[in-house]
Symmetry: C2
Subunit: 148 residues, 2 copies
């Protein structure tokens, strides 16, 4: 349901701020958990997840940037770091001379596998276990509307 | 309502991912709007808002770091930048030789004032106008639970 932009009430601003604070608090803890147990920043974890879910464990750099919501230059720096760690390689794209794929390596797969338990336990404890099914359904609906 | 951490369902993971994606999409657009119209990154805007709302328009660096959810070193870099732009100054704390305040300047106040319309219009259009009062109330409850 769309309504014309108008002055926001203090209650509406308070909900928006709470949304930002809850996001930051949860993400900060998830990042601390991954760094502490696996020396893996959350953004790196996200890249590895996108690659493991892609056909042949590879994605064009442009697709990967969209999937993890990073700028092209931000993703390039991140993939540089992952490549130095041996978790990802770059591969030329046969059909497009300028195209480059990022490809998950076996080491990247193993690292992701060991980190996934930590991460999902965090999402469960910090998010899902705190919400009723009704809360989750309402959150789902609200996020759909923000994304529409 | 708390339940024991357990395997997450694909639906629960999907809601979590949607939450992340909605947050990133909205924040990215708000940042683009502020940068485009006022050359002000969202993190800088947040710092100026915290200062304008504080008594005497000043906060200890540690309080400010907590308020904007940045690490101490991240906040130091950000305040360095704001100080170079003349939007904030640092002031020694009389009662604590090691303490430093960040203080909003008149230029910072003016910059914030001109950026606030852009930002609140964005929050209204991208978030509040897309949600029913019931969605907002449900979101508020869910975020309270995540922060508890």
């Amino acid at each position: 349901m769309q309504r014309a932009p108008e002055r926001l009430s203090s209650g509406e601003i308070a909900v928006w701020r709470k949304f930002l604070r809850a996001h930051a608090t949860v993400v900060r803890q998830l990042e601390a958990d991954l760094l502490g147990a696996h020396s893996l920043p959350l953004a790196s974890y996200d890249v590895l997840v996108q690659l493991v879910e892609a056909p042949e464990h590879k994605l064009r750099m442009t697709e990967l940037a969209d999937a993890v919501l990073l700028s092209r230059s931000g993703l390039t720096r991140l993939v540089d770091r992952l490549e130095r760690e041996g978790l990802v390689t770059r591969e030329a794209c046969v059909s497009d001379a300028r195209g480059l794929f990022a490809v998950l390596t076996q080491a990247g797969y193993d690292r992701l596998r060991s980190a996934t338990g930590t991460h999902l336990r965090g999402v469960s404890e910090l998010v899902v276990s705190k919400l009723d099914p009704e809360d989750l359904a309402a959150l789902d609906r609200a996020m759909d509307k923000l994304l529409s």
